[in-house]
């Protein structure tokens, strides 16, 4: 009996070792090689990757330095999916830059990149330990944040004390950046501006409309978003005639719809997550409420929203990025901004070629973080952290992900103030619902349809 047990356990250990072997080869196959991947096929590269500053050609000696980018990824646990996409995006950027021969500085130095990362298990237990390891053992020169605001703030305590620059992608909370950190830079639009663009869009569509209702899910995220949007709407001269929260999991919005009707609101904003947002949109349609504009959080950005059919038509919703967002060198020129890197379509194609799937906005965020770092190093003409910090502080440009500009005030240093959410609208194209980007204008793929019905 005992012998059988030993045999069984022996086999178990053997099987797990074989699995380990398979896992490490498969991970190499799916994720782009982190450095020196010259043997792989050259994919679409950032436009200026190889473009040296003017003085570069005069420098005789070519010294190569490899910059280490450290981060933790949630390889296990609840953030696994988002975090993995983020890493894939970043790895794609690393591969493209290295394949293009790295960044050439004016003194002839060629900067190449490699990544080092560990699993944070989606919990905070090990984040500080692993970031200390990245900084002190792996000598990471620059850091990327973990996924989620909570883990990012933990990592920031460590990165700040070592004076390391951390690009935070996947961390939308405003609070991290108002806590006195000096070297944490946010790529995403903060939660407080998730819906403000929807107010701007409404204003551009109908300057005469004045009465707005906010109906939102009673969760902290939605409250933070809607609270900021309400303040903004009032500043813009709107009259907020209804401001009402519903419990998570609400399935009958009858009472709220009656209240909206009573309030005389012409535009409705709010929502929360996918389930309640879609139910709300459907019931608004069924009751044939006479409103001109409907903007909801989260749900419209999801492709499943189109299953609502006519109820989804012309509903507006925010998203950090969409593959169809039409940011291009031309739109940069129109907005008076510098352009850098690939267009959205080029990024999306390169990503699909590398991983066989359409990039989500998490993947785009990872790639964008790399691109921002690349531009900062090129602007600084150095990998010195202080010079790169100065370059980041001065950054004001348009990339495929959108406008990138950081707050440099003492109160909210590093907060993203340039990037706008893109706003999608489900439009009827020959009887078929198509998700179009309608705002901001520089990224729009179609003109917004107004009014709602």
């Amino acid at each position: 009996m005992r012998r059988k047990l030993y045999l069984f356990l022996g086999l178990l250990v053997l099987a797990s070792l074989v699995l380990v072997g398979c896992q490490s080869t498969s991970s190499e196959a799916t994720s782009a090689p982190s450095s020196g991947g010259n043997e792989a096929e050259v994919t679409q590269a950032p436009a200026e990757a190889t473009q040296a500053p003017a003085e570069a050609s005069e420098a005789p000696e070519a010294k190569e330095v490899t910059v280490t980018i450290g981060f933790t990824q949630s390889q296990t646990g609840k953030y696994n999916e988002e975090s993995s996409s983020q890493t894939q995006g970043l790895e794609l950027w690393v591969k493209q830059v290295n394949d293009q021969g790295g960044i050439k500085l004016s003194d002839g130095t060629v900067v190449k990149f490699k990544t080092v990362y560990y699993d944070d298990e989606s919990t905070g237990d090990k984040v500080q330990q692993l970031y200390t390891r990245l900084i002190t053992e792996d000598n990471a020169d620059f850091l990327i944040s973990p996924y989620s605001s909570g883990l990012t703030s933990m990592a920031a305590v460590v990165s700040e004390q070592y004076g390391k620059i951390m690009l935070a992608t996947g961390a939308a909370s405003d609070s991290i950046y108002t806590k006195g950190y000096e070297r944490v830079y946010q790529i995403y639009t903060p939660a407080s501006r998730y819906l403000t663009g929807a107010v701007d869009l409404l204003k551009s569509l109908d300057p005469n409309l004045k009465k707005v209702a906010f109906v939102y899910e009673n969760s902290k995220f939605s409250q933070a978003v809607v609270g900021a949007a309400k303040d903004y709407a009032e500043q813009q001269g709107y009259e907020v005639v209804l401001f009402e929260g519903y419990d998570p999991g609400t399935t009958d919005f009858g009472a709220f719809i009656n209240k909206i009707a009573d309030s005389g609101a012409e535009a409705v904003m709010g929502g929360g997550h996918f389930q309640d947002g879609s139910t709300f949109a459907r019931q608004l349609y069924e009751k044939q409420l006479d409103i001109k504009y409907l903007a909801l959080l989260v749900a419209p950005a999801d492709n499943g929203f189109s299953e609502l059919g006519d109820a989804a038509k012309n509903v507006v919703g925010p998203s950090q990025w969409e593959p169809s967002a039409n940011y291009s060198p031309e739109s940069a020129k129109a907005a008076g901004l510098a352009w850098f890197g690939p267009t959205s379509a080029e990024f999306a194609k390169a990503y699909e070629d590398a991983y066989g799937e359409t990039p989500s906005y998490h993947a785009a965020g990872g790639y964008a973080a790399g691109l921002v770092l690349q531009k900062a190093i090129m602007d600084a003409d150095s990998v010195d952290p202080d010079k790169v910090k100065a370059a980041l502080d001065n950054m004001d440009l348009l990339i495929f992900f959108g406008h990138i500009k950081f707050d440099t005030s003492e109160d909210a240093h590093g907060l993203q103030i340039g990037h706008e959410m893109v706003y999608v609208q489900w439009q009827d194209k020959d009887g078929k619902l198509v998700k179009e980007v309608v705002w901001p204008k520089e990224g729009a793929t179609a003109a917004p349809v107004y009014p709602l019905r």
Binding site: S24, T123, R133, T136, V157, K179
Partner: protein
């Protein structure tokens, strides 16, 4: 004098083991070693605290992390929103956890076996849901510490160093408490409850009282550790403060080292954390670290069910006096 040292040999052994973990990063002066030792000491403190309830009294608490989270929340709130010093906040975190344990103990320690274990899971989820809706504690998004607060403690680097000394102190304290419980009359009552609660009552142990105090003792230090850890982390939110997973890991550590012994949880926690660290960063295993640690645990539980210390006691009767 030497007799006294001999009498408490097992205490010296346990304290020595913890001190060894604590002194190692001081000798190397390496920040990473310090961070690693911090997570190990945190695990030792949590596991040794739970051992008072699980090992000595025989009550399995699956929701013990609730005290860690609550202490963390109370301490964090006092530091961040009320401007209290770290020291007072740590005490307050411990007190809050102790108070919750006392009130809960009166109610749920009447349950036995699986019913008690289930109730503790319920308590953890209930407290998490409460915090999720409690605005002063920031609701679902939690709270973030202003970076400037670390300047009061000599900058973030010094604050992390200070946190390390405090966790070392707390861990030594929990070992002293654990040893005292194990060797006192009170502890004898707990062991009697573990073997047969009804028989213990017949013999004069006031089981409800003894159990409640064991519960309180096992909750206070996790509360203090929580306040310290979240100060060091700089942020707190419900998902990070009440992970059910950590409760289970605590139980695993105790089982590994040997439940009902002072030294067991120290060895179990240190061993488990070291293994996890190794698997997490080793290039070969990092993608499968959870599977590997699962297999290792299976092997250990199958072959040495009494844990390391239990196995040593059985194998080498001469060292029994040393290993309690």
């Amino acid at each position: 004098m030497s007799k006294r040292i001999q009498q408490h040999a097992s205490l010296w052994l346990s304290l020595g083991a913890v001190l060894l973990i604590g002194i190692w990063p001081m000798l190397t002066g390496n920040a990473l070693d310090r961070e690693t030792a911090f997570t190990v000491l945190r695990a030792v403190a949590l596991a040794s605290s739970l051992n008072i309830l699980l090992g000595y009294t025989g009550y399995v608490s699956f929701g013990h992390v609730v005290f860690y989270g609550l202490g963390g929340y109370v301490g964090f709130y006092l530091i961040s929103e009320r401007g209290w010093s770290l020291w007072l906040a740590i005490l307050a975190g411990g007190l809050a956890a102790g108070l919750l344990a006392y009130l809960l103990g009166l109610a749920i320690l009447r349950l036995r076996g699986a019913y008690f274990a289930l109730a503790t899971i319920g308590v953890n989820e209930a407290v998490r849901a409460f915090i999720n809706n409690f605005e002063p504690f920031g609701g679902p998004t939690g709270m973030t510490l202003n970076f400037k607060i670390y300047k009061l403690y000599g900058g973030p680097a010094n604050a992390l160093q200070l946190s390390f000394y405090i966790i070392l102190g707390l861990t030594l304290l929990v070992i002293l408490v654990s040893y005292w419980v194990r060797t006192s009359k009170f502890g004898l009552g707990l062991l009697a409850i573990r073997e047969d609660e009804d028989a213990a009552e017949v013999m004069g142990v006031v089981a409800p009282n003894a159990k409640t105090w064991a519960y309180v003792l096992s909750a206070v230090i996790p509360g203090m550790v929580g306040a310290l850890v979240f100060f060091k982390n700089g942020t707190i939110e419900p998902g990070l403060a009440f992970p059910l997973n950590t409760s289970i890991v605590m139980i695993v550590m105790i089982m590994l080292g040997g439940q009902g012994t002072v030294l067991g949880p120290i060895l179990g926690a240190a061993g488990y954390e070291t293994m996890r660290d190794f698997l997490l960063v080793s290039p070969l295993f990092k993608n499968l670290q959870l599977a590997i640690s699962g297999v290792l645990l299976l092997i250990i539980v199958l072959f040495i069910p009494r844990g390391l210390v239990g196995w040593l006691r059985q194998r080498y009767p001469k060292v029994r006096r040393l290993l309690i």
